[in-house]
Assembly symmetry: C3
Homo-oligomer: 155 residues x 3
């Protein structure tokens, strides 16, 4: 938790540095609210451009008469588990504002199109290295932050 999937065409995130920078931006979103860095999983899925369709249009086309997309399209899917946000328009909007700021240099500023959505799943159906995570904001969580790995704690 969180798990961010980045589905991107081969013309984007072509260098290790560009991936490392985005992964750092995602990670900072969560460490800023106190979550241990290792909670943040980012997976880059390079998808062949002929396997991505937006509104029926492929990212790239080899078919006569089929118009490809004008710009690279990057799709992010976030799964948040450790903290369930308060169900509030304002809380949600504040969080997405932060996500937008984090993503901007990696997509908008590069001339890409992009989209993201976040799903929140059940914290009690989540384990790291066979362990439940300590409660959000607890001393044990702070300890996990410091050692940056899952270690046994008294539940």
């Amino acid at each position: 938790m969180p798990l961010w999937h980045v589905y991107h065409p081969p013309t984007t995130f072509t260098t290790a540095a560009s991936k490392t920078a985005l992964a750092a931006a995602f990670t900072k979103l969560y460490t800023d609210i106190g979550l241990p860095p290792f909670y943040v999983n980012v997976y880059f899925h390079q998808i062949p451009a002929t396997d991505i369709y937006i509104g029926g249009q492929p990212q790239e086309s080899t078919e006569p008469g089929v118009e490809p997309l004008a710009r690279p399209f990057v799709r992010f899917v976030g799964e948040q588990i450790a903290v369930r946000m308060e169900d509030s328009d304002e809380v949600y909007a504040q969080w997405l504002d932060k996500v937008d700021v984090a993503l901007k240099p990696h997509v908008q500023d590069k001339g890409y199109d992009w989209e993201y959505h976040i799903d929140e799943t059940e914290r009690r159906l989540w384990k790291v290295a066979g362990l439940y995570a300590p409660p959000f904001g607890s001393e044990e969580e702070k300890m996990w932050f410091r050692v940056n790995k899952a270690v046994p704690w008294k539940e």
Copy 2:
């Protein structure tokens, strides 16, 4: 939104035309209810046949004594965000009927096995090109439909 993932073995969706046709069918499902075409994201994930297991059986096997699946298996995962359906057996069933009709030529008629499920996620945790989407059925949404892209609107 919606995002449809198509997890398929290499023996299926082998041509651009077959992918374009399925992407068009998915897109029509949503444009028929008034959603802008570009909302519809379809990703084809070609999975090596030895990496797909159904009931413990691989799609294709190199192991002695391991029986592979008899037919190609295609797994669809749909994530719907823009419109939360009414929680009703009838509404759900009507929607799945439409999905079934859309999928039939692309799987059943080709002799494939297939399965799908749909998850609905929080609309307020979704942005396209840094923008919230206009309300379902609104004039602004109709405008997005016409221009077929996310453009600023007065929230």
Copy 3:
């Protein structure tokens, strides 16, 4: 249903036997509670080690000054549909205990790091081969178990 995605670096699950063994372990989890084997979908996604980031660290790095992860990291995502568990700490914990036991030989005993979470989605938005699944525990479900495929039944 269930659908388990296994996101793993190329240094793990390198043999067909290792994949078959894990798929069997996942399958047994569900057949033990009476679900037909073919319900269980396991997908192995081999992700390039430079496309996996945990806490901002890549599984493997080519960048000077970037510290890669110490051990292979495997991320499991489970989507359960057929049976919605009772919303109870105890029921959840008992299920995760079983998942832990099933996964142990395939990750912990091999010296990997790992993490999983499970999401539960709407049963009424799920079809196999164009059919709704029979109710959990029904005679029709037992019939599906025996024939190990989706066949028409009287709803």
